[in-house]
Each structure stands twice: as C-alpha cells, then as structure tokens.
Amino acid sequence: MTERVAIVIVSHSADVARGAAAMVRQMAGKEVKVAHCGGNPEGGLGTNVAAIKRCIEQVYGPRGVAILVDLGGAETNSEMAIEMLPREWQTNIVICQAPVVEGAVMAGTEASGGSNLQKVRATAEEYFR
C-alpha cells in the first residue's frame, strides 16, 4: 500500500467527529488513514488532549498528518497534543484552518491522490477562501 497523508478529525462532539470521518472515508477510500475524536475526558462536549494524541499516533506515517478542528479549544488542545509527540514528528503534522467537515473531506480527497502534506493542507484551506 502506498503511503498517504493521514487525516485526524477533532470536534467538540463525538457524533460530529464520527460522522465527518465516515464522510472522508466515503470519498478517500481505504488508503487514507482517518482517525477521529470528540468530547472532553468525561464524554461531554469538549476536546481531550490524550485522545487527540492517541488519534495522531494511530495514523502517523512518513507522509504526515493533517488535523481538522472545529472550534478554538479543539485547535488549542491539538497544538498541545502535537507538542507532546516526538520532535521529529512535529514538523510533519499540521492543523488546517478550514471547516471541520468540508475541510476533512477536501483534505482526504486530496490525500487519496498521493499529494504531499502541504498540498493537502492548501486544498482544505484554499477551497473556502
């Protein structure tokens, strides 16, 4: 299997994260690894640094990881999770400034074609400008 950029979806809602991941898989096929998480450590609405870190670890590969987030806390907690990972991974993980559902589908679709991390991120971010 050819390596592809992987996608991580981080929402405040576990339902939104699960649904967005399903939509990415529908477009991007099996070669693009997708992980998702939503909810605070107690399962309520919010985000969870440990869960985000686990998601990145699940899908991390040499082509890197594009993270899609919904609201502020999801971004701040994702930044924190990235900083807790090995230094050599950190430059290979990006947070896309794009709506979480549409951005994830765009990023996943771009990744499925074999594009690099910068191109995947740009596609997610530029489509909505």
């Binding site: 605070n40 985000t47 701040t76």
Partner: protein, 218 residues
C-alpha cells in the same frame, strides 16, 4: 522578606505548597457555579465544570504533588490540567504552570521570572494579549504589579496586597471589553457588559495564592 529578596518564597516549605494547593482547589470548587454562569452568558458554559474537573485531578494527586519540589509540582499540576480540563483553558493554565515550573527550576529562579515566563507562555498558547477579554487581562496586570513591587523593594505583605488588587481590577476591566478571542468573540458587541470567565478563574486563583502566601508574610 521584601519583594526584591524573593528567595524565601521559592524555598516553599511543604506547608506553603500545601496551603497554595488547597487554596486553589477550594477557590475553584466553591466558585465553579459562578464560572459556569459567566461562561453561559458569553460562551459555551463549560468553564466551571472544566476547571472543576482539572482541579479535582490535582486534588486526587495532592499527596504526590506535595512530595515534589515546587518546580516539579507546578509542572505536574500543569500537565494534569492539560490532560483533564477538556477545553482551551486546559492548555492555557497548563502552559502557565509548566512555564512557571521550568522558571522555578533554574538556579537564578525568582517569582518575577516565573510570572514573566508563565504569562509569556499563555500569550503564545492563546495567540493573545491583554485587552482581548481573556485571562491575560488579569495575568498581565499581576505580572506588572509584581515587577513594580520588586523595583520599589516593597515588603511582601504590601506586594501581595497590590497583586490581589491588580487581579481584581484586571477582572473588572474585562466587563466593558469586546471579546476577540474564543467563543465569546462570536457574540461581538453583545459580549460587552459581562465579566470574562477565564479572567474570573485567573482572579480567583491569584486571590487564593495571595491568601496562602499572606498567612505568614511579614
């Protein structure tokens, strides 16, 4: 002791660290409802419960934390908040305490350096500064008040009272501000007239720390 001779503060005999910890845990515990109310007015309403979850995790580790030197205790508390809070305040308060802990671990450590580095870490993490209706509207005045007390060589009691006043004034100053960070920014001008919940939790923690220090300050 005066503010320019800070070393005694940093030796943190266990009773002081215990008082600091217990005061912070109690401040969040008794005010969680108030923080939730403030956050319901201009945000998603979870700040009280999030802080409560974080400080409950700290309370659960109380004995282990008290066995550590101050620097390590602060870093461990920061990591606990990062991992348990579940909102942006986790990484924000976590970064504050972790940076303060790292500053405390250095040979030339001082409270001033701890505040400087802690507040700088919050600014970086939040991509924010004073004036945006956030916890920095309390933390920056606190940092400036301590720096001024150090320059003036103020006695500890007076310096701590000044710190507490700066925190209180910083909190009140968020009321007329328009929020430009976080969920509250979605409300735009409707955020005017409300205290910022993050600034309120920062005030509560600073106030609690001052009370803990004042108990045996000259």
């Amino acid at each position: 002791m005066n503010a320019t001779q800070e070393a005694p503060v940093l030796q943190t005999p266990d009773p002081l660290l215990a008082r600091l910890l217990d005061a912070a845990i109690e401040a969040i515990g008794t005010n969680a409802e108030r923080l939730g109310d403030l956050d319901r007015a201009i945000g998603d309403g979870d700040h009280g419960l999030n802080m409560l979850r974080g400080f409950a995790a700290i309370a659960a580790q109380r004995d282990a934390l008290l066995a550590l030197p101050l620097a390590s205790a602060l870093e461990s508390m920061g990591t606990l908040l990062v991992m348990t809070v579940g909102g942006a305040s986790g990484p924000l308060y976590g970064s504050l305490l972790i940076a303060m802990g790292k500053a405390a671990a250095r040979d030339d450590a001082s409270v001033l350096a701890m505040l400087d580095e802690g507040v700088a870490a919050v600014k970086r993490r939040g991509k924010s500064d004073r004036g945006e209706k956030t916890m920095l509207d309390v933390l920056v005045p606190v940092q400036l008040a301590w720096a001024q007390s150090c320059r003036e060589g103020l006695a500890a009691r007076a310096a701590l009272e000044r710190l507490r006043s700066a925190a209180k004034e910083g909190l009140e100053a968020t009321r007329p501000l328009v929020a430009t960070k976080g969920r509250a920014s979605f409300l735009g001008e409707r955020s005017i007239g409300h205290l910022d919940p993050g600034a309120c939790s920062s005030f509560l923690l600073v106030d609690a720390a001052c009370t803990a220090f004042l108990e045996d300050a000259p």
